[in-house]
Symmetry: none
Subunit: 209 residues, 4 copies
DNA sequence: TATGAATGAGACTTCATTCAT
DNA sequence: CATGAATGAAGTCTCATTCAT
């Protein structure tokens, strides 16, 4: 199974989906502001426009909400990036494209990113593996493109170097969210993208050294 | 002032120092395990070996503990890295040295790092600026060395590129802690250091592109 | 606004009223016995027959209870006295009537009076003005009657003397509660009323001196 | 015994007296400001200029301080008033003199008065009788003078009326302290004294009615 | 299904009092 | 006699979760 099941008292699957997306939306708004621990379930229900009782019809415990949120955000990212990654471009161009649209996405979803990276550690042992797996899926997108680049001779990277590069790209995106307190006063997202893009491309380049 | 004052009811400065380092030690142990929010002040006091009353003789509120912990960890890093950074080496060698000892340090203090990066967001508006400043001080260490390298003609980097590079180096270190769930199964710290070192050095290198 | 708002988490206004009067009743009982400061919120909840959590659904903080109690007691007095004060009597008879029924009321609500006068000083800056205003409303009832008496030529009192007389009457009532340790062993309430009534009537009389 | 014994660990009686008057002075200052319950023993010790440990060498428990304070204030009043009461004047003049100097004293010691009347109810069962007795002693001063006045034919008052009058006088003084929130904006102490003096004198006068 | 009042464990924090130095 | 660090009981308040309606 790709997703961890979150038990609901309600049968109507459609309704579950509707309610849960309301929950997620409200939760993101609030977590952004005050973090997971300082947000109460009551607040989430209120923000979502229904009662605390109703909230608990769609989740079993507070932690479920954090999982739903994380899951949702990751899916958003994955879907968008897989879309880009399926473009019919030459591998090197694709790499550029996906990196820069990833950065753009991060800038767009800055708050969501922040929530995810700051609250992920609050996930229970039960949920964490699911979320980490999603992170690896994002990683895999870059790995695949990088592998193609290597296969097509653009770079000469070992397996491990490819993995490292993929992680690095991902983290460079996350940085823009979690270090925004420092970065935003120095760079626009375009500048940041350019500088990091060059850093990455040189960092995985062949010759040199 | 470099540090935020944390009020204590006790007068004996020596004792304050002793007790506070006991508090810090215990807090790190517990935060590591359960995070700041899930750790109770009672647990911290107990772990430190004294009563809850005594704990509150040395701090004013729970958040003080998080500040003390952050402050302590940053100081540890800064001191160690400033030591390294004052080595009498040629700039390029110094860069290598400081980066690799920084990575070693991160590996060593993995738990502390994790605590710091995961709980920093729980710091109050009051404490946060002090902690962010400390992060920038670490950043500055790398900036200085990079600037020297540029001045000595090893790289051709703009001001903004230097800053980006410094942040990147710092984050590559932090990654080892906060992505250890993925990285540790792929790399040893030495491998990780080598790969990232190469990535960095190429990333800031002159030619190529 | 005449009353300070006390926030409740509960929406049902009827229920709020019910619960709050339970709270007030319990609080009076306990404050009587041990005073505001020595009474715990837990005890109040228990006495009221619900849990501490429920108590806090109807108040925001302990001090709210004291305010509710004061407010309630004052209202009781005001309502009863305004009723009497609207009797269709000649002014002088009305004065006698209202004074003696006020004394009777004080005797009746001895405990409540005591609580109010002993704990009022524990009211926060936030609540105090509201309660003092209520005290002045009681005062005003006597002032009005006295003014009519003066207008009808029964007494010759200046504005300031009227105010003093009103305060004196009020305090003579309160005395019966807060000096009961001394007075009850000397007088019955009827005796006390008679003696003080004469004292008052002579005290504000015309001739003499 | 006139006074309740307050146990001390220290033998030197002189020292006990010195320290206790320091304690009383500090306590009055603080009680004035925040009341007995909100004042901590630590604060009292600090205000008095010695350590909490030392404080507890001279008292057994916090409540002792309240007793000492009450006892001290009453003594002040009694001493001053007995002085006045022993003047060689005709009874009626003496009554005027003692009443007006009592009112003056009350105005002078407004804060102490307030403390006493507001915190007395916090006295334990153990101390209360002693303090009430002191209040009765003050009462007795007026009773004695009034009795003389009656004996000398100035008024025609029964035993019970004398007692009531004495209580009334006392309470009129206290009022100036505990209703100062209302009275001070209407009267100066001289006005207040004059108005109440007339009220009292008429209130106990013979003829009329 | 939806509601929201009720619950109570448990969190943080204070402070009177003790006792070794 | 003086000190002040240590103690821990007890207080206020919060909030996730339940359940009758």
């Amino acid at each position: 199974m790709e997703k961890r099941a979150v038990k609901s008292m309600v049968k109507d699957e459609k309704l579950i989906e509707t309610r849960r997306s309301q929950i997620i939306k409200s939760a993101v708004t609030l977590f952004k502001e005050k973090g997971f621990h300082r947000t109460t379930t009551r607040e989430i229900a209120k923000e979502a426009g229904f009662s605390i009782g109703t909230l608990y019809e769609y989740i079993r415990e507070k932690e479920d909400i954090l999982y739903l949120v994380s899951d949702f955000i990751y899916d958003q990212f994955r879907v968008r990036m897989e879309e880009e990654a399926s473009s019919n471009l030459k591998s090197l161009d694709l790499l550029h494209l996906v990196i820069s649209s990833y950065f753009k996405l991060v800038d767009d979803k800055q708050d969501e990113m922040l929530v995810m990276y700051q609250e992920a550690k609050s996930l229970s042992k039960k949920s964490l593996p699911y979320v980490l797996k999603k992170e690896l899926q994002l990683c895999a997108i870059f790995e695949k493109i990088l592998t193609r680049c290597v296969e097509e001779g653009h770079f000469a990277l070992s397996e491990k170097e490819i993995k490292a590069a993929a992680h690095n790209i991902l983290v460079f995106g996350q940085m823009w969210a979690f270090r925004r307190w420092a970065l935003r006063s120095i760079y626009t997202i375009e500048e940041y993208t350019n500088i990091q893009m060059e850093f990455i491309m040189k960092g995985i380049s062949k010759n040199n050294k």
